[in-house]
């Protein structure tokens, strides 16, 4: 079974819109579901309101902003990995401010990949289009 949705978590509404638009340009079949903070991530994963209508099953990937208010990206990742229901879901982290020790910590905590979030549209397009194709069409997930 191929997952039918992807979860995009980013506190910046412009970035959520752009990342979603770019991923759709890559012809991925998955429905895109958005979260604006860590609490929304877990509501979406548990199919709690307002996410009751999201597709069933695990997402193909969680695209997770490293810097968000409230729960940080690393804390969200830690909680995802410690819950048996979500432990095996691929998580790709992204950040506009790359710090070597944070990249290492993300991989150590079980991030499947880590990408820079460029500030310009062309940079965003280059990275998130490839990201959507790889995790939406090429990678196989545990369901």
């Amino acid at each position: 079974m191929v997952p039918t949705w992807m979860l995009i978590a980013d506190d910046d509404p412009n970035d959520r819109f752009l990342i979603g638009k770019i991923i759709k340009e890559g012809d991925v079949d998955q429905e895109l579901v958005f979260a604006s903070d860590g609490y929304d991530v877990f509501k979406a994963l548990h199919r709690d309101p307002p996410y009751e209508s999201r597709p069933y099953g695990p997402p193909a990937v969680i695209i997770l902003d490293h810097q968000m208010p409230g729960l940080s990206g690393l804390e969200i990742l830690r909680r995802i990995r410690s819950d048996p229901e979500s432990a095996l879901i691929p998580v790709v982290m992204h950040s506009g401010q790359m710090r070597a020790h944070e990249i290492r910590e993300a991989y150590r905590l079980g991030a499947n990949a880590y990408v820079e979030k460029p500030v310009n549209y062309e940079g965003l397009r280059r990275i998130f289009k490839e990201l959507g194709i790889f995790w939406g069409q090429v990678n196989v997930v545990s369901v």
Binding site: P90, R104, Y107, R108, A113, Y114, I127, N139, S142
Partner: protein, 149 residues
């Protein structure tokens, strides 16, 4: 991932090695690759044992691509070993296998694999898959790694 970074590929089947190398070449993947024939050789490479002590000729890899079913030590054994070696467990590692068995996919993720790829039936599809792999992972940041595990 920097195009100069080395990739270690573990594959025991000679025909598959030939096809994989051709597909990598056709896909235009710039990274230097080294083929290991089983999981034990991968671990020796990472530990810089024997000929792999020469890091000029055998640089520490920035990515591993593992077949699952191999003699001596399997891809699962390598993943298990990586988990026990924290310095090395952050190397981006992908499985490339013909198995789509849910239990294999689940076990690979449970052992910390970064991505799971199923070998496609045709050379063209393999080439296309490898281009997607390269395009995405070239965009990725990887942590600084030691010279050996």
């Amino acid at each position: 991932m920097n195009p100069n970074h080395h990739i270690v590929i573990a594959e025991d089947n000679e025909d598959d090695v030939f096809i994989l190398q051709r597909a990598l070449q056709k896909a235009g993947i710039p990274n230097p690759t080294h083929i290991c024939n089983d999981g034990e050789e991968v671990i020796n490479y990472l530990k810089a044992v024997g000929p792999y002590a020469d890091r000029q000729n055998y640089p520490f890899p920035r990515m591993l691509i593992l077949d699952l079913k191999m003699p001596r030590l399997s891809g699962f054994d390598v993943l298990r070993w990586l988990r026990g070696n924290p310095d090395c467990s952050v190397i981006p590692t992908m499985v490339l296998t013909s198995s789509r068995e849910p239990k294999d996919v689940q076990e690979a993720y449970r052992l910390g694999v970064n991505a799971y790829l199923v070998k496609p039936p045709t050379f063209e599809e393999l080439q296309s898959m490898l281009m997607c792999v390269s395009s995405f992972w070239t965009c990725c940041e990887v942590p600084e790694l030691p010279l050996k595990c």
